[in-house]
């Protein structure tokens, strides 16, 4: 089967409005998390990372919008506009659109929202983005909890292999809302300090917000310089509990094994891991067990949650894009917030940003509903 690449990409975040802004800051170990007090989203201070509203509105205005867009639509449109432009592709019948989100325009359910409640239907979000850019096909929307972002890459590849598309633009986003914060707070999981994945003094989750997009394509021409090939991917359920991670890391372990088999690589071929690392005790522990079962305990590993928080349905995609840049820059990015190992199994957590020749990385994610996804990417060298 022909190879499928991840190419042009855009991260709209608290760091700025392109991938470079995020990657440059991450390379310098700068977190974008901030303690904010905003009673409209949570009655107590919360540590989060949100896109600057004024700058976002300015960026949307430059795109000449013909109708009012919700905050999430703005994030997706601004991100995707840059990725489409960089790709130079015309949006014909060979080009697909895939949206990854857990909650979409969930903020419109709030009584104070100026938008109609119907806007909360996720297919409406798809139609808004499709119409704005004039995509030929209807948007596909994937909503698969916190693995959505990385699973969406797999889905795009699979549709390309089935011959449905030659190129798929994947765009992902979720908002920091009262809806989400109240829920995670009821789960006693939120932290008011920057999160510390895998650390023994971990304090819980930070929720963050990005709008991020990537071109998934079978065309090896005109690739972005940081492009990667998707070698293998898999998604396996824990079949254990709808919110509690598996005590044996079963689903993640199986996902990694299946992705490696498809990629034709073994544990020693993995140069680094961009893991999920939400900084809850149960998640981090589950991952440490799964990585050890997969003999990946020596592979340098990070969680990027200490930079941008957990961006839910976008996390898998934004972290994959940062991983692409990590390979391109031959740099292992420090796992922000980590000091001393706080899981029962050994992990080689990256405690300092380091230059190192890199070719292949593993991205993993896990989420509610017992879902896990693993994907293995390799640097494109023939450019």
């Amino acid at each position: 089967m022909s190879e499928v690449y991840l190419s042009h990409n855009t991260i709209v975040s608290n760091y700025g409005f392109d991938s470079l802004a995020a990657v440059t800051n991450i390379m310098q170990e700068q977190s974008s998390l901030q303690l904010i007090e905003d009673p409209s989203i949570l009655s107590k201070p919360v540590c989060t990372s949100r896109v600057n509203t004024e700058q976002l509105q300015e960026a949307v205005a430059l795109l000449d919008p013909r109708e009012p867009y919700t905050r999430l639509e703005q994030l997706l449109i601004v991100s995707l506009a840059k990725t489409i432009q960089a790709s130079g592709l015309s949006l014909n019948e060979r080009v697909g659109l895939l949206i990854s989100t857990t909650k979409g325009n969930i903020d419109v359910l709030d009584a104070k929202s100026p938008f109609p409640k119907e806007r909360a239907y996720l297919h409406t979000l798809g139609e808004k983005v499709k119409t704005f850019f004039g995509f030929h096909h209807e948007a596909m929307v994937l909503s698969n909890a916190c693995v959505s972002g990385v699973l969406a890459i797999a889905v795009a590849k699979r549709f390309i292999h089935q011959g449905k598309y030659d190129h798929v633009f994947v765009v992902a986003g979720d908002l920091v809302t009262k809806f989400i914060l109240s829920g995670f707070n009821a789960f006693q999981a939120l932290s008011d300090a920057p999160c510390k994945p895998y650390d023994k003094n971990r304090v819980g989750i930070n929720i963050g917000e990005v709008g991020t997009s990537v071109l998934v394509t079978k065309d090896s021409h005109a690739l972005a310089k940081e492009s990667v090939v998707l070698l293998g991917e898999a998604s396996c359920n824990d079949a254990n509990h709808i919110s509690g991670p598996s005590r044996t890391g079963e689903g993640l372990f199986r996902s990694i094994g299946s992705a490696m088999k498809q990629a034709g690589v073994s544990a020693v071929d993995i140069d680094c891991i961009s893991a999920h690392g939400t900084a809850t005790v149960f998640n981090d522990e589950m991952e440490s067990i799964a990585f050890n079962r997969a003999h990946l305990q020596d592979a340098p590993i990070n969680s990027l949650k200490g930079y941008i928080g957990h961006t839910l349905g976008a996390s898998g995609l934004v972290e994959t894009i940062v991983g692409m840049h990590s390979l391109h820059q031959n740099t292992l990015f420090c796992s922000k917030g980590f000091e001393a190992l706080g899981v029962s199994q050994p992990l080689n957590v990256i405690h300092k940003t380091t230059q190192k020749p890199l070719n292949t990385f593993l991205k993993t994610a896990s989420g509610f509903g017992g879902c896990n996804t693993a994907a293995i990417f390799k640097k494109v060298t023939s450019q």
Binding site: A120, V141, Q162, F179, S182, S235, A239, H241, S243, F368
Partner: protein
């Protein structure tokens, strides 16, 4: 040349009726979903106490899957579901619990169901399926996407069988159509036969 697959069995739950492979298994005059699905659960002798903790979407999905997986021995089965309303019914419940500052008591047991893929997690737990789960949202039943994605999973040997279809619950209305795709079966796995079964069952 792609290998051809078959639709092994299918189940439909809508408007007070549950049918499998075109045969009615349960009918009820109950107009309310909660009463309907509870009486179906009892009549079909499902006996799974976690059922009562689930939201409506998961109850609907669990009963539909139960009809197809009761005698199923293949555990390497992927789940590919789709719907229109996502988890909106439960989203509205959670929103209701946080709207008023004086009655602000978000429930973890409600919040956890504010993701459509939870119903696939419930089925995976119930039937011990450690396999691929994907949940797509579309404004209408889209046989072509389900067809392509299912073929992809089977072709890559990510699963031996795929349980796929449509599970929608919104504003009291419910519609479930699930079918099992495998190497052998009654109908050829094609967009036409998926659409035909959805429209006629």
């Amino acid at each position: 040349m792609t290998a051809s697959y078959h639709i092994e069995s299918h189940c439909r739950i809508t408007e007070g009726r549950i049918s499998k492979d075109g045969k009615s298994l349960f009918e009820s005059a109950e107009t309310e979903f909660s009463a309907f699905i509870k009486s179906a659960y009892k009549a079909l002798e499902i006996n799974y106490s976690k059922f009562f903790k689930m939201d409506s979407l998961s109850k609907l999905a669990l009963v539909a899957a139960e009809m197809l997986l009761l005698d199923e021995h293949e555990k390497n089965m992927a789940l590919v579901f789709s719907n229109k309303a996502g988890s909106l019914d439960t989203d509205r419940k959670h929103q209701h619990s946080i709207q008023d500052p004086d009655g602000y008591y978000p429930s973890p047991a409600v919040f956890v169901y504010t993701l459509p893929n939870i119903c696939m997690g419930e089925i995976s737990i119930r039937h011990g399926l450690f396999s691929e789960n994907s949940f797509f949202i579309c404004n209408r039943f889209r046989a072509d996407d389900l067809f392509d994605y299912t073929n992809s999973l089977l072709g890559m040997q990510k699963a031996e069988k795929v349980l796929c279809g449509w599970i929608d619950f919104d504003l009291g209305k419910y519609d479930a159509f699930l079918y099992v795709v495998a190497k052998n079966g009654t109908f050829i796995h094609s967009k036409e036969s998926i659409n035909h079964l959805y429209q006629t069952q």
